[in-house]
């Protein structure tokens, strides 16, 4: 089964990974993306993030995720894809996104998973706000669709 979801609850990575597995598959590659404490700034210094807030354009984000799943299944020899992205406030270390790709053979699953996160970061309308001890900032992506 393919699926994409947005949730404000903590994401259970194992259950996402299990849901994509069909009998013909031999490998599932799962990306666990989580909130990082230290972020490198444009000037090369690092800044400590206290927590993150993610916001999504829900309807469009789901449509864009569905498109990515469809394209990835044409592009790679994979069977199923599951994507779950969290929104709202996330503490450092909490999972923000899980992408699970099940495939008959692992190589295609690794390649598809890498492609999916790269495209998600470029096209799916979700934004991250980093909150620091002395301020906050909406992060703007470096690539555009």
């Amino acid at each position: 089964m393919d699926f994409c979801e947005l949730t404000t609850d903590a994401i259970d990575m194992n259950s996402v990974a299990r849901r994509v597995v069909p009998p013909e598959c031999g490998a599932t590659v799962t990306l666990d993306g989580y909130a990082r404490a230290f972020t490198k700034q444009k000037d090369g210094s690092t800044r400590e993030t206290l927590y993150l807030v993610y916001e999504a354009y829900d309807d469009m984000a789901l449509k864009e995720m569905e498109k990515l799943i469809e394209i990835s299944k044409d592009k790679f020899e994979i069977s199923n894809v599951g994507i779950v992205h969290r929104t709202g406030r996330l503490e450092i270390g909490e999972t923000s996104v899980v992408i699970s790709v099940a495939a008959p053979h692992r190589r295609a699953a690794f390649e598809a998973c890498e492609w999916l996160i790269k495209e998600l970061k470029r096209t799916v309308p979700i934004w991250k706000k980093e909150v620091y001890a002395d301020g906050e900032e909406w992060v703007e992506g470096s690539e555009t669709p």
Partner: protein
């Protein structure tokens, strides 16, 4: 029914609201509406902006009709 324009993240902070309504009378393109909104909230112009029509990325040429939904936002940063 006017066009509904939605803001997210940085654009919502700048606009000070999450959505506004814009009159789509005449045959306005998505770029016309976009330009109108940016001139109403000039601080938007200092960001690299993207926009959508009815939850699809816009080219700018779409004719926008009453009841359509436009999204205006900065380059995405999910993941």
């Amino acid at each position: 029914m006017p066009v509904r324009v939605l803001f997210f993240g940085a654009t919502a902070d700048i606009a000070g609201k999450r959505d506004i309504e814009v009159d789509a009378a005449g045959s306005k393109t998505s770029r016309d509406i976009f330009d109108e909104v940016v001139s109403r909230f000039p601080r938007l112009a200092s960001h690299r902006l993207l926009y959508s029509v009815n939850q699809q990325y816009a080219s700018g040429d779409e004719i926008v009709r009453d009841g359509d939904e436009l999204g205006i936002f900065t380059a995405v940063s999910g993941g």
